[in-house]
Protein backbone atom coordinates (compact mmCIF):
# COMPACT_ATOMS: atom_id res chain seq x y z
CA UNK A 1 0.00 0.00 0.00
CA UNK A 2 1.16 3.53 -0.59
CA UNK A 3 -0.14 6.95 0.35
CA UNK A 4 -0.72 10.02 -1.84
CA UNK A 5 -0.81 13.65 -0.86
CA UNK A 6 -4.54 13.60 -0.12
CA UNK A 7 -4.11 10.63 2.22
CA UNK A 8 -1.23 12.29 4.04
CA UNK A 9 -3.36 15.42 4.41
CA UNK A 10 -6.14 13.27 5.89
CA UNK A 11 -3.74 11.60 8.35
CA UNK A 12 -2.24 14.96 9.33
CA UNK A 13 -5.71 16.27 9.99
CA UNK A 14 -6.57 13.20 12.12
CA UNK A 15 -3.32 13.73 14.04
CA UNK A 16 -4.10 17.45 14.45
CA UNK A 17 -0.86 18.61 12.84
CA UNK A 18 -1.19 21.53 10.45
CA UNK A 19 0.87 20.92 7.31
CA UNK A 20 1.17 23.15 4.28
CA UNK A 21 1.43 21.85 0.71
CA UNK A 22 5.22 21.80 0.71
CA UNK A 23 5.33 19.82 3.96
CA UNK A 24 2.79 17.33 2.62
CA UNK A 25 4.76 16.91 -0.62
CA UNK A 26 7.90 16.24 1.35
CA UNK A 27 6.21 13.74 3.63
CA UNK A 28 4.65 11.56 0.86
CA UNK A 29 7.84 9.82 -0.33
CA UNK A 30 9.17 9.53 3.23
CA UNK A 31 6.05 7.79 4.49
CA UNK A 32 5.91 5.58 1.41
CA UNK A 33 9.51 4.53 1.93
CA UNK A 34 8.72 3.46 5.48
CA UNK A 35 5.41 1.81 4.59
CA UNK A 36 6.95 -0.20 1.75
CA UNK A 37 9.69 -1.37 4.07
CA UNK A 38 7.31 -2.50 6.84
CA UNK A 39 5.25 -4.37 4.27
CA UNK A 40 7.74 -7.27 4.50
CA UNK A 41 5.87 -8.23 7.67
CA UNK A 42 3.23 -9.66 5.34
CA UNK A 43 5.66 -12.50 4.53
CA UNK A 44 5.51 -13.81 8.10
CA UNK A 45 3.20 -16.74 8.76
CA UNK A 46 1.27 -15.70 11.85
CA UNK A 47 -1.33 -18.47 11.78
CA UNK A 48 -2.55 -19.14 15.29
CA UNK A 49 -0.43 -16.40 16.87
CA UNK A 50 -2.10 -14.03 19.31
CA UNK A 51 -1.11 -10.36 18.98
CA UNK A 52 1.20 -9.40 21.82
CA UNK A 53 0.50 -6.24 23.81
CA UNK A 54 2.23 -6.97 27.12
CA UNK A 55 5.67 -8.54 26.91
CA UNK A 56 6.23 -9.49 30.54
CA UNK A 57 3.40 -11.43 32.18
CA UNK A 58 1.82 -9.12 34.70
CA UNK A 59 -1.63 -8.50 36.11
CA UNK A 60 -3.29 -5.14 36.38
CA UNK A 61 -3.63 -4.15 40.00
CA UNK A 62 -6.41 -2.16 41.58
CA UNK A 63 -5.40 0.59 43.92
CA UNK A 64 -6.86 0.82 47.39
CA UNK A 65 -10.36 2.25 47.21
CA UNK A 66 -9.64 5.26 49.37
CA UNK A 67 -9.53 8.95 48.58
CA UNK A 68 -6.01 10.22 47.90
CA UNK A 69 -4.50 6.74 48.34
CA UNK A 70 -1.41 8.33 46.83
CA UNK A 71 -1.32 12.04 47.54
CA UNK A 72 0.81 12.66 44.44
CA UNK A 73 -1.86 11.41 42.11
CA UNK A 74 -4.88 12.15 44.31
CA UNK A 75 -7.09 15.22 44.31
CA UNK A 76 -6.81 18.67 45.77
CA UNK A 77 -3.92 19.77 43.56
CA UNK A 78 -5.62 22.30 41.33
CA UNK A 79 -2.77 24.78 41.64
CA UNK A 80 -0.16 22.20 40.60
CA UNK A 81 -2.30 20.97 37.72
CA UNK A 82 -2.80 24.46 36.34
CA UNK A 83 0.73 25.71 37.04
CA UNK A 84 2.03 24.96 33.55
CA UNK A 85 -1.10 25.81 31.56
CA UNK A 86 -0.54 28.37 28.80
CA UNK A 87 -3.84 30.02 29.78
CA UNK A 88 -5.42 29.29 33.16
CA UNK A 89 -8.30 31.42 34.35
CA UNK A 90 -10.55 31.20 37.40
CA UNK A 91 -9.20 27.76 38.24
CA UNK A 92 -9.83 26.35 34.76
CA UNK A 93 -7.87 25.69 31.58
CA UNK A 94 -8.62 28.49 29.14
CA UNK A 95 -9.38 27.61 25.51
CA UNK A 96 -10.71 29.56 22.53
CA UNK A 97 -14.48 29.79 22.29
CA UNK A 98 -15.92 26.44 21.13
CA UNK A 99 -19.67 27.27 21.15
CA UNK A 100 -21.01 30.20 19.16
Amino acid sequence: MSVDKATVAKIASLARIRMDDAALERMVPELNGILQWVEQLGEVDVTGIEPMAAVIPNTLRLRDDVIDADPLTGGGRQGDVLANAPAAEHGFFGVPKVIE
Partner: protein, 493 residues
Protein backbone atom coordinates in the same frame (compact mmCIF):
# COMPACT_ATOMS: atom_id res chain seq x y z
CA UNK B 1 44.72 15.29 44.78
CA UNK B 2 43.37 12.92 42.17
CA UNK B 3 41.20 14.39 39.48
CA UNK B 4 37.80 13.44 40.88
CA UNK B 5 36.12 13.64 37.47
CA UNK B 6 38.06 10.55 36.39
CA UNK B 7 36.26 8.47 39.03
CA UNK B 8 33.15 6.39 38.49
CA UNK B 9 30.14 5.71 40.70
CA UNK B 10 31.71 3.06 42.93
CA UNK B 11 34.96 4.93 43.53
CA UNK B 12 33.12 8.16 44.35
CA UNK B 13 30.65 6.46 46.67
CA UNK B 14 33.39 4.52 48.48
CA UNK B 15 35.76 7.49 48.60
CA UNK B 16 33.09 9.72 50.12
CA UNK B 17 32.17 7.03 52.63
CA UNK B 18 35.82 6.56 53.64
CA UNK B 19 36.44 10.28 53.84
CA UNK B 20 39.08 10.40 51.09
CA UNK B 21 37.23 13.45 49.75
CA UNK B 22 33.90 15.12 50.42
CA UNK B 23 30.79 14.88 48.32
CA UNK B 24 30.97 18.63 47.92
CA UNK B 25 34.44 18.40 46.38
CA UNK B 26 33.12 15.82 43.93
CA UNK B 27 30.11 17.94 43.00
CA UNK B 28 32.28 21.04 42.54
CA UNK B 29 34.69 19.15 40.27
CA UNK B 30 31.92 17.86 38.05
CA UNK B 31 30.05 21.18 38.02
CA UNK B 32 33.26 22.79 36.76
CA UNK B 33 33.77 20.08 34.13
CA UNK B 34 30.18 20.53 32.93
CA UNK B 35 30.60 24.30 32.72
CA UNK B 36 33.68 23.85 30.50
CA UNK B 37 32.02 21.40 28.15
CA UNK B 38 29.38 23.54 26.47
CA UNK B 39 30.81 22.56 23.07
CA UNK B 40 29.43 19.03 23.51
CA UNK B 41 25.90 20.45 23.97
CA UNK B 42 25.22 17.47 26.22
CA UNK B 43 23.08 19.42 28.69
CA UNK B 44 19.90 21.38 28.00
CA UNK B 45 20.01 22.97 31.45
CA UNK B 46 22.63 22.63 34.17
CA UNK B 47 21.70 22.44 37.84
CA UNK B 48 24.93 22.95 39.82
CA UNK B 49 22.98 23.99 42.90
CA UNK B 50 21.07 20.71 42.92
CA UNK B 51 24.34 18.77 42.85
CA UNK B 52 25.84 20.89 45.66
CA UNK B 53 22.74 20.66 47.87
CA UNK B 54 22.64 16.86 47.51
CA UNK B 55 26.38 16.68 48.25
CA UNK B 56 26.07 18.83 51.37
CA UNK B 57 23.30 16.57 52.62
CA UNK B 58 25.53 13.52 52.16
CA UNK B 59 28.50 15.20 53.87
CA UNK B 60 26.28 16.19 56.80
CA UNK B 61 24.85 12.68 57.06
CA UNK B 62 28.34 11.22 57.10
CA UNK B 63 29.50 13.70 59.74
CA UNK B 64 26.66 12.69 62.01
CA UNK B 65 27.28 8.99 61.41
CA UNK B 66 24.02 8.29 59.57
CA UNK B 67 23.96 5.45 57.05
CA UNK B 68 24.70 6.58 53.49
CA UNK B 69 22.67 5.62 50.42
CA UNK B 70 23.75 3.46 47.49
CA UNK B 71 24.62 6.50 45.40
CA UNK B 72 25.73 8.79 48.22
CA UNK B 73 27.82 11.64 46.93
CA UNK B 74 27.55 10.72 43.25
CA UNK B 75 26.43 13.61 41.02
CA UNK B 76 24.74 12.34 37.87
CA UNK B 77 23.24 13.60 34.63
CA UNK B 78 19.49 13.20 34.21
CA UNK B 79 18.14 12.56 30.73
CA UNK B 80 15.64 15.35 30.04
CA UNK B 81 12.86 12.83 29.67
CA UNK B 82 12.47 12.43 33.44
CA UNK B 83 10.18 14.93 35.14
CA UNK B 84 12.17 16.82 37.77
CA UNK B 85 10.44 19.01 40.34
CA UNK B 86 11.05 22.68 39.64
CA UNK B 87 13.50 21.99 36.79
CA UNK B 88 12.47 22.41 33.16
CA UNK B 89 11.65 19.09 31.49
CA UNK B 90 11.41 19.24 27.70
CA UNK B 91 11.99 15.82 26.11
CA UNK B 92 14.22 18.01 23.87
CA UNK B 93 11.10 19.41 22.23
CA UNK B 94 9.83 22.94 21.60
CA UNK B 95 6.33 21.89 22.62
CA UNK B 96 7.49 21.28 26.22
CA UNK B 97 9.93 24.18 26.38
CA UNK B 98 9.46 25.92 29.72
CA UNK B 99 7.47 23.02 31.22
CA UNK B 100 8.42 22.89 34.89
CA UNK B 101 6.99 19.83 36.61
CA UNK B 102 5.43 20.13 40.04
CA UNK B 103 6.35 16.53 40.76
CA UNK B 104 9.37 14.24 40.54
CA UNK B 105 9.60 11.06 38.47
CA UNK B 106 9.85 7.89 40.55
CA UNK B 107 13.26 6.94 39.15
CA UNK B 108 14.84 10.35 39.76
CA UNK B 109 13.30 10.50 43.24
CA UNK B 110 14.80 7.10 44.06
CA UNK B 111 18.21 8.31 42.91
CA UNK B 112 18.01 11.43 45.11
CA UNK B 113 16.83 9.26 48.01
CA UNK B 114 19.94 7.11 47.47
CA UNK B 115 22.14 10.17 47.87
CA UNK B 116 22.78 11.15 44.24
CA UNK B 117 22.66 14.75 43.05
CA UNK B 118 21.84 16.26 39.65
CA UNK B 119 24.37 18.04 37.44
CA UNK B 120 21.71 18.96 34.90
CA UNK B 121 19.17 17.76 32.36
CA UNK B 122 20.74 15.94 29.45
CA UNK B 123 19.99 16.52 25.81
CA UNK B 124 18.43 13.71 23.75
CA UNK B 125 16.66 13.04 20.50
CA UNK B 126 13.31 14.80 20.56
CA UNK B 127 10.81 12.63 22.51
CA UNK B 128 13.56 9.96 22.40
CA UNK B 129 12.90 9.50 18.67
CA UNK B 130 16.21 9.16 16.90
CA UNK B 131 19.49 7.25 16.87
CA UNK B 132 22.01 10.06 16.46
CA UNK B 133 20.90 12.91 18.74
CA UNK B 134 20.19 15.12 15.74
CA UNK B 135 16.44 15.58 16.30
CA UNK B 136 16.67 17.69 19.49
CA UNK B 137 15.08 21.14 19.37
CA UNK B 138 18.09 22.26 21.42
CA UNK B 139 20.68 21.26 18.83
CA UNK B 140 22.85 18.24 18.10
CA UNK B 141 24.94 16.62 20.78
CA UNK B 142 28.53 15.97 19.83
CA UNK B 143 30.34 12.82 20.87
CA UNK B 144 33.61 13.50 22.70
CA UNK B 145 35.14 10.92 20.33
CA UNK B 146 36.51 11.86 16.94
CA UNK B 147 38.03 9.79 14.19
CA UNK B 148 41.79 9.70 14.45
CA UNK B 149 43.20 12.78 12.71
CA UNK B 150 39.81 14.38 12.06
CA UNK B 151 37.90 17.30 13.53
CA UNK B 152 34.56 16.18 12.17
CA UNK B 153 31.89 16.10 14.90
CA UNK B 154 30.64 12.55 15.49
CA UNK B 155 27.27 11.28 16.68
CA UNK B 156 27.05 10.17 20.33
CA UNK B 157 24.19 7.86 19.31
CA UNK B 158 20.62 8.28 20.40
CA UNK B 159 18.28 8.81 21.85
CA UNK B 160 20.28 9.03 25.11
CA UNK B 161 23.05 10.97 23.34
CA UNK B 162 23.51 13.66 25.97
CA UNK B 163 23.90 10.88 28.53
CA UNK B 164 26.49 8.94 26.51
CA UNK B 165 28.44 12.05 25.56
CA UNK B 166 28.58 13.35 29.14
CA UNK B 167 29.66 10.02 30.65
CA UNK B 168 32.28 9.35 27.96
CA UNK B 169 33.64 12.90 28.30
CA UNK B 170 33.90 12.43 32.09
CA UNK B 171 31.75 15.43 32.84
CA UNK B 172 29.38 13.04 34.65
CA UNK B 173 30.31 9.72 36.31
CA UNK B 174 26.96 8.27 35.27
CA UNK B 175 23.65 9.27 33.74
CA UNK B 176 20.15 7.98 33.35
CA UNK B 177 19.01 6.77 29.97
CA UNK B 178 15.83 5.35 28.58
CA UNK B 179 15.61 2.59 26.01
CA UNK B 180 12.61 2.09 23.75
CA UNK B 181 14.41 0.43 20.83
CA UNK B 182 18.08 0.69 21.70
CA UNK B 183 18.34 4.20 23.12
CA UNK B 184 20.61 3.17 26.01
CA UNK B 185 22.67 0.47 24.30
CA UNK B 186 23.41 2.10 20.94
CA UNK B 187 24.71 5.40 22.41
CA UNK B 188 26.70 3.43 25.00
CA UNK B 189 28.32 1.41 22.20
CA UNK B 190 29.08 4.57 20.17
CA UNK B 191 30.90 6.24 23.07
CA UNK B 192 32.78 3.37 24.74
CA UNK B 193 30.67 3.18 27.92
CA UNK B 194 28.30 0.66 29.52
CA UNK B 195 24.53 0.86 29.59
CA UNK B 196 21.87 -1.59 30.67
CA UNK B 197 18.17 -1.70 29.88
CA UNK B 198 16.57 -3.88 32.56
CA UNK B 199 13.59 -6.17 32.12
CA UNK B 200 10.47 -4.23 31.15
CA UNK B 201 8.78 -3.15 34.38
CA UNK B 202 11.88 -3.09 36.62
CA UNK B 203 12.08 0.71 36.61
CA UNK B 204 8.94 2.75 37.08
CA UNK B 205 7.82 4.73 34.06
CA UNK B 206 5.95 7.21 36.25
CA UNK B 207 7.14 10.71 35.46
CA UNK B 208 9.06 9.70 32.33
CA UNK B 209 7.77 11.45 29.21
CA UNK B 210 6.10 8.58 27.35
CA UNK B 211 7.18 7.53 23.86
CA UNK B 212 6.00 3.93 23.38
CA UNK B 213 4.66 2.70 26.69
CA UNK B 214 4.93 -1.05 26.04
CA UNK B 215 8.65 -0.64 25.27
CA UNK B 216 9.97 2.31 27.31
CA UNK B 217 12.35 1.32 30.07
CA UNK B 218 14.83 3.40 32.07
CA UNK B 219 18.35 2.28 32.89
CA UNK B 220 21.79 3.50 33.92
CA UNK B 221 24.71 4.54 31.69
CA UNK B 222 28.15 4.55 33.28
CA UNK B 223 31.74 3.58 32.54
CA UNK B 224 31.81 0.17 34.20
CA UNK B 225 29.59 -2.84 34.74
CA UNK B 226 29.91 -2.40 38.52
CA UNK B 227 28.74 1.21 38.28
CA UNK B 228 25.73 0.14 36.21
CA UNK B 229 24.86 -2.56 38.77
CA UNK B 230 25.00 -0.04 41.63
CA UNK B 231 22.96 2.60 39.86
CA UNK B 232 20.36 0.16 38.52
CA UNK B 233 19.87 -1.05 42.09
CA UNK B 234 19.01 2.52 43.08
CA UNK B 235 16.66 3.08 40.12
CA UNK B 236 14.66 -0.16 40.12
CA UNK B 237 11.76 -1.20 42.30
CA UNK B 238 8.02 -1.60 42.46
CA UNK B 239 5.93 1.53 42.03
CA UNK B 240 2.15 1.42 42.49
CA UNK B 241 1.88 4.52 40.28
CA UNK B 242 2.98 2.55 37.19
CA UNK B 243 0.47 -0.14 36.24
CA UNK B 244 3.18 -2.18 34.47
CA UNK B 245 5.68 -1.97 37.32
CA UNK B 246 7.02 -5.36 38.40
CA UNK B 247 5.97 -6.32 41.88
CA UNK B 248 9.26 -8.09 42.63
CA UNK B 249 12.15 -7.64 44.99
CA UNK B 250 15.20 -5.89 43.58
CA UNK B 251 18.19 -8.23 43.94
CA UNK B 252 21.49 -6.83 45.18
CA UNK B 253 23.09 -6.94 41.75
CA UNK B 254 26.30 -5.31 42.90
CA UNK B 255 26.92 -7.83 45.68
CA UNK B 256 26.23 -10.81 43.41
CA UNK B 257 28.51 -9.71 40.55
CA UNK B 258 30.57 -12.70 39.49
CA UNK B 259 32.47 -13.09 36.25
CA UNK B 260 33.09 -16.82 36.67
CA UNK B 261 30.88 -18.20 33.91
CA UNK B 262 31.63 -21.90 34.38
CA UNK B 263 28.48 -23.89 33.76
CA UNK B 264 26.88 -21.06 31.77
CA UNK B 265 25.95 -21.29 28.12
CA UNK B 266 26.30 -18.28 25.86
CA UNK B 267 24.10 -18.28 22.76
CA UNK B 268 25.31 -16.86 19.45
CA UNK B 269 22.28 -16.01 17.28
CA UNK B 270 23.15 -16.92 13.71
CA UNK B 271 20.60 -14.48 12.26
CA UNK B 272 22.60 -11.55 13.64
CA UNK B 273 25.24 -12.09 10.96
CA UNK B 274 23.72 -9.43 8.74
CA UNK B 275 24.87 -7.80 5.56
CA UNK B 276 26.07 -4.27 6.11
CA UNK B 277 27.76 -5.08 9.40
CA UNK B 278 31.31 -3.74 9.66
CA UNK B 279 34.05 -6.36 9.57
CA UNK B 280 35.55 -4.81 12.73
CA UNK B 281 32.23 -5.44 14.52
CA UNK B 282 32.16 -9.06 13.37
CA UNK B 283 35.75 -9.46 14.54
CA UNK B 284 34.91 -8.01 17.96
CA UNK B 285 32.00 -10.44 18.20
CA UNK B 286 34.45 -13.32 17.63
CA UNK B 287 36.72 -11.83 20.25
CA UNK B 288 33.76 -11.59 22.64
CA UNK B 289 33.06 -15.31 22.21
CA UNK B 290 36.68 -16.08 23.06
CA UNK B 291 36.54 -13.87 26.16
CA UNK B 292 33.38 -15.54 27.47
CA UNK B 293 34.85 -18.97 26.74
CA UNK B 294 37.90 -17.93 28.69
CA UNK B 295 35.57 -17.01 31.57
CA UNK B 296 34.38 -20.61 31.59
CA UNK B 297 31.23 -20.38 29.47
CA UNK B 298 30.26 -22.82 26.78
CA UNK B 299 29.46 -21.18 23.43
CA UNK B 300 26.41 -22.55 21.61
CA UNK B 301 24.71 -21.59 18.35
CA UNK B 302 21.12 -20.45 18.70
CA UNK B 303 18.52 -19.33 16.21
CA UNK B 304 16.26 -16.28 16.40
CA UNK B 305 14.47 -16.80 13.07
CA UNK B 306 12.32 -13.64 13.14
CA UNK B 307 15.20 -11.23 13.77
CA UNK B 308 14.90 -9.48 10.42
CA UNK B 309 11.24 -8.72 11.07
CA UNK B 310 11.80 -7.18 14.50
CA UNK B 311 12.77 -3.75 13.19
CA UNK B 312 9.81 -3.30 10.81
CA UNK B 313 7.45 -4.55 13.56
CA UNK B 314 9.00 -2.01 15.91
CA UNK B 315 8.42 0.78 13.39
CA UNK B 316 4.72 0.03 13.50
CA UNK B 317 4.27 -0.65 17.21
CA UNK B 318 6.38 2.25 18.49
CA UNK B 319 4.89 4.98 16.24
CA UNK B 320 1.38 3.65 16.93
CA UNK B 321 1.91 4.01 20.67
CA UNK B 322 3.66 7.34 20.17
CA UNK B 323 0.80 8.78 18.14
CA UNK B 324 -1.51 7.96 21.03
CA UNK B 325 0.85 9.12 23.81
CA UNK B 326 1.69 12.38 22.08
CA UNK B 327 -1.98 13.29 21.62
CA UNK B 328 -1.73 14.95 25.05
CA UNK B 329 0.31 17.85 23.65
CA UNK B 330 -2.55 20.09 22.68
CA UNK B 331 -1.63 23.57 23.91
CA UNK B 332 -4.19 23.40 26.70
CA UNK B 333 -2.70 21.87 29.81
CA UNK B 334 1.03 22.51 29.57
CA UNK B 335 3.73 23.51 27.16
CA UNK B 336 3.50 25.54 23.99
CA UNK B 337 0.30 27.10 22.66
CA UNK B 338 0.11 28.56 19.17
CA UNK B 339 -3.17 30.41 18.77
CA UNK B 340 -3.35 32.27 15.47
CA UNK B 341 -5.82 35.18 15.42
CA UNK B 342 -9.46 34.26 15.16
CA UNK B 343 -9.11 30.46 15.02
CA UNK B 344 -11.04 27.89 17.03
CA UNK B 345 -9.96 25.03 19.25
CA UNK B 346 -9.22 22.45 16.53
CA UNK B 347 -7.04 24.89 14.61
CA UNK B 348 -5.25 25.79 17.81
CA UNK B 349 -4.38 22.12 18.36
CA UNK B 350 -3.11 21.77 14.81
CA UNK B 351 -1.09 25.00 14.89
CA UNK B 352 0.40 24.19 18.29
CA UNK B 353 1.47 20.71 17.22
CA UNK B 354 2.84 21.98 13.90
CA UNK B 355 4.99 24.53 15.71
CA UNK B 356 5.94 22.33 18.66
CA UNK B 357 6.98 19.00 17.12
CA UNK B 358 10.09 18.41 15.01
CA UNK B 359 10.08 16.59 11.66
CA UNK B 360 10.97 13.12 12.98
CA UNK B 361 8.29 13.33 15.66
CA UNK B 362 5.70 14.40 13.10
CA UNK B 363 6.77 11.58 10.79
CA UNK B 364 6.27 8.99 13.52
CA UNK B 365 2.94 10.44 14.66
CA UNK B 366 1.69 10.30 11.07
CA UNK B 367 2.89 6.71 10.60
CA UNK B 368 1.27 5.75 13.90
CA UNK B 369 -1.97 7.48 13.05
CA UNK B 370 -2.05 5.75 9.66
CA UNK B 371 -1.37 2.21 10.93
CA UNK B 372 -4.06 2.62 13.60
CA UNK B 373 -6.65 4.09 11.24
CA UNK B 374 -9.79 2.26 10.17
CA UNK B 375 -9.10 -0.17 7.34
CA UNK B 376 -5.36 -0.47 8.03
CA UNK B 377 -5.34 -1.47 11.68
CA UNK B 378 -5.32 -5.23 11.09
CA UNK B 379 -2.95 -5.22 8.14
CA UNK B 380 -0.33 -3.16 9.97
CA UNK B 381 -0.84 -2.96 13.71
CA UNK B 382 -2.29 -6.39 14.48
CA UNK B 383 0.20 -8.03 12.13
CA UNK B 384 3.08 -6.22 13.87
CA UNK B 385 1.84 -7.33 17.29
CA UNK B 386 1.75 -10.92 16.08
CA UNK B 387 5.27 -10.65 14.72
CA UNK B 388 6.26 -9.20 18.09
CA UNK B 389 4.87 -12.34 19.72
CA UNK B 390 7.02 -14.44 17.38
CA UNK B 391 10.15 -12.41 18.16
CA UNK B 392 9.49 -12.98 21.88
CA UNK B 393 8.89 -16.70 21.27
CA UNK B 394 12.22 -16.95 19.41
CA UNK B 395 14.00 -15.69 22.53
CA UNK B 396 12.04 -18.02 24.77
CA UNK B 397 13.14 -20.99 22.67
CA UNK B 398 16.73 -19.79 22.49
CA UNK B 399 16.85 -19.45 26.28
CA UNK B 400 15.96 -23.12 26.56
CA UNK B 401 19.43 -23.74 25.10
CA UNK B 402 21.50 -20.93 26.62
CA UNK B 403 21.66 -18.59 29.60
CA UNK B 404 22.66 -15.36 27.93
CA UNK B 405 22.99 -14.18 24.33
CA UNK B 406 26.04 -12.41 22.91
CA UNK B 407 25.67 -10.17 19.86
CA UNK B 408 26.98 -6.90 18.50
CA UNK B 409 25.19 -3.79 19.80
CA UNK B 410 25.25 -1.94 16.48
CA UNK B 411 26.16 -2.81 12.87
CA UNK B 412 28.64 0.08 12.62
CA UNK B 413 30.67 2.44 14.79
CA UNK B 414 29.58 6.05 15.27
CA UNK B 415 29.15 8.18 12.15
CA UNK B 416 29.68 11.91 11.53
CA UNK B 417 26.78 14.17 12.49
CA UNK B 418 24.79 15.04 9.40
CA UNK B 419 25.97 12.04 7.38
CA UNK B 420 22.83 9.88 7.73
CA UNK B 421 20.01 12.35 7.20
CA UNK B 422 19.09 11.57 3.60
CA UNK B 423 16.66 8.77 4.34
CA UNK B 424 14.99 8.06 7.69
CA UNK B 425 15.22 4.31 7.00
CA UNK B 426 19.03 4.27 6.96
CA UNK B 427 19.01 5.75 10.44
CA UNK B 428 16.42 3.24 11.68
CA UNK B 429 18.66 0.34 10.58
CA UNK B 430 21.20 1.35 13.20
CA UNK B 431 19.00 -0.26 15.84
CA UNK B 432 18.64 -3.58 14.04
CA UNK B 433 20.49 -5.55 16.74
CA UNK B 434 19.00 -3.62 19.67
CA UNK B 435 15.30 -3.69 18.84
CA UNK B 436 14.56 -7.44 19.18
CA UNK B 437 15.34 -7.44 22.94
CA UNK B 438 13.19 -4.35 23.34
CA UNK B 439 10.22 -5.99 21.65
CA UNK B 440 10.62 -8.98 23.97
CA UNK B 441 11.08 -6.80 27.08
CA UNK B 442 14.35 -8.53 27.96
CA UNK B 443 17.28 -7.18 29.98
CA UNK B 444 20.09 -6.17 27.62
CA UNK B 445 23.39 -4.41 28.03
CA UNK B 446 26.15 -2.92 25.92
CA UNK B 447 29.75 -3.05 27.13
CA UNK B 448 32.75 -1.55 25.34
CA UNK B 449 34.88 -4.16 23.52
CA UNK B 450 37.55 -2.39 21.52
CA UNK B 451 38.29 0.51 19.22
CA UNK B 452 38.25 0.24 15.43
CA UNK B 453 40.86 1.38 12.91
CA UNK B 454 39.46 4.94 13.07
CA UNK B 455 39.94 5.00 16.83
CA UNK B 456 36.19 4.78 17.55
CA UNK B 457 34.71 2.50 20.23
CA UNK B 458 32.73 -0.66 19.47
CA UNK B 459 30.32 -2.33 21.88
CA UNK B 460 29.14 -5.86 22.51
CA UNK B 461 25.60 -6.66 23.57
CA UNK B 462 24.39 -9.19 26.12
CA UNK B 463 20.73 -10.19 26.29
CA UNK B 464 19.29 -12.19 29.19
CA UNK B 465 16.19 -14.01 30.27
CA UNK B 466 13.37 -11.96 31.79
CA UNK B 467 14.40 -10.75 35.29
CA UNK B 468 17.97 -12.06 34.85
CA UNK B 469 19.81 -8.73 34.93
CA UNK B 470 22.40 -10.56 37.03
CA UNK B 471 23.27 -12.97 34.22
CA UNK B 472 23.65 -10.05 31.83
CA UNK B 473 25.80 -8.04 34.25
CA UNK B 474 27.99 -11.05 35.05
CA UNK B 475 28.70 -11.80 31.40
CA UNK B 476 29.29 -8.08 30.86
CA UNK B 477 31.79 -8.10 33.71
CA UNK B 478 33.60 -11.08 32.19
CA UNK B 479 33.98 -9.12 28.94
CA UNK B 480 35.02 -5.94 30.74
CA UNK B 481 37.78 -7.76 32.62
CA UNK B 482 39.16 -9.28 29.45
CA UNK B 483 38.65 -6.38 27.05
CA UNK B 484 40.65 -4.03 29.28
CA UNK B 485 38.99 -1.11 27.53
CA UNK B 486 40.88 1.96 28.71
CA UNK B 487 40.69 4.17 25.63
CA UNK B 488 39.50 7.71 26.32
CA UNK B 489 38.45 10.46 23.96
CA UNK B 490 41.08 13.17 23.68
CA UNK B 491 39.80 16.42 25.18
CA UNK B 492 38.99 19.02 22.50
CA UNK B 493 36.00 20.75 24.12
Amino acid sequence: MTDLTQLGVKDIRDGVAKGDFTAREVAESFNAAVAQAAALNAFIVTTPDHALAAADKVDAARASGEPLGKMAGVPIGMKDLFATHGVQTTAASHILEGFTPRYESTVSQKLWDAGAGMLGKLNLDQFAMGSSNETSYFGNVSSPWRKAGSNQPMSPGGSSGGSSSAVAARIAPAATGTDTGGSIRQPAAFTGICGIKPTYGRCSRWGIVAFASSLDQAGPMARSVEDCAIMLGAMAGFDPKDSTSLQMDVPDWEAALNSDLRGKKVGIPREYRMEGTDQAILDSWEQGKAWLKDAGAEIVDVSLPHTKYALPAYYIVAPAEASSNLARYDGVRYGLRDLPDGVGLQDMYAATRAAGFGDEVKRRILIGTYVLSAGFYDAYYTQAQKVRALVARDFERAFAECDVILAPTTPTASFPLGSMNEDPLTMYLNDVFAVPASLAGLPAMSVPATINADGLPLGLQLVGRPFDEQGVLNAGLAIQQRAGFTAKPEKWW
